[in-house]
Amino acid sequence: MKVTEQNRHIYWNPYFGGFLLGLIVLFTFYMTGRGLGASGAMKSTVVAAVDVVAPTHAENNAYYSKFISEDKSPLNNWLVFEVLGILIGGLISGGLSGRIGWKVQHSPKITKRRRLYFALGGGILFGIGAQLGRGCTSGAALSGMSVLSVGGFISTIAIFGTGYLAAYFFRKNWI
């Protein structure tokens, strides 16, 4: 048990992980000409869901209609496949190092319930922010910075800047 317990928290060296991630972003640009992404898939699922549940509403809503096209379902999108890949990749890596198991990770100081509330709140905020900023950290920031796009730098600075500013208010959750 000691060994598995011990290596549950042994992660890669961040520079090695960063280097490999850099190669993956490079490979993605070389193959498909576009960067990585994640929140685009959530958007596609929501759009697809709304399209199925209330097609008329989806048609005349200004935002949904941007992503609905007759021939292709919103789910048939590069990002959705990539997200599938991420899930599989995460599973493989988690499996290899024995980290798979239903749990809620929270700082000992706070209760599980509070952690889930903050996760939900953060998710909602992130959902809105990602649509507004047209990209999340891995999409807009990472891929944006790789091609030195101004939008990428703006997103990175904005995300991590406000993160540091707001860190004080959320410190009870983490430290």
Partner: protein
């Protein structure tokens, strides 16, 4: 040869298959670098573990250097790569909201997915939260519309906007990155250890 699929060097059908493969590699690296644990992610804000900054910056710098070397050698045509549109205020305010979301939930969508993969319930709740957020954004789109479409500066890169020479810019970025790694190591020594 530039981006292979848009130049039809690789048929378009491969696009989705490659997406899955890239996703697998992406998920694997993220998870192995420890990004499936939200407390390790939040460490960047509280100084006890700067993994996010190190991984992120190394990845960006490696990708930028790689791209510009390949462009120089002619393997990739930078003009054909997707540069995301820059909406100044949309980006800033969107980023601010995401920043607060990041610090409160401890996840960003990519890393949350890896956490979902290994069974973290708070990550699942987080993903549901994102979908609710998208839903709210869409429903209340009329409020966000001016911000969403305002201050459009085009798909510009630092090279066009500031006229910076990309090579010097990347060199500066690398130096800043190495300094940041060095400084964050110092900070890490001083901050109280947190076991996660």
């Amino acid at each position: 040869m530039g981006p292979l699929i848009p130049n039809e060097i690789i048929p378009y059908e491969w696009n989705n298959i490659i997406a899955i493969l890239i996703g697998i590699a992406f998920g694997f690296v993220l998870e192995s670098s420890g990004f499936s644990s939200s407390r390790k992610l939040a460490g960047v804000f509280y100084g006890y573990d700067f993994a996010v900054l190190k991984v992120f910056f190394t990845a960006a710098v490696t990708a930028a250097i790689g791209l510009y070397y390949m462009d120089y050698l002619g393997y990739v045509n930078l003009g054909e790569l997707y540069v995301q549109p820059t909406y100044l205020w949309g980006g800033i305010i969107g980023g601010a909201i995401m920043g607060v979301g990041f610090i409160s939930a401890g996840f960003c969508p990519g890393t949350a997915l890896t956490a979902v993969a290994i069974g973290k319930i708070d990550a699942i709740v987080y993903i549901v939260g994102i979908m609710i957020g998208v839903f709210i954004f869409a429903e209340a789109y009329s409020i966000f519309q001016p911000l969403y479409e305002g201050s459009y500066l085009g798909n510009i890169t630092v090279v066009d906007y500031f006229g910076a020479n990309p090579y010097w810019f990347i060199f500066g970025l690398t130096v800043v990155a190495v300094l940041a790694f060095f400084v964050t190591d110092i900070i890490r020594r001083r901050v109280k250890k947190v076991f996660y």
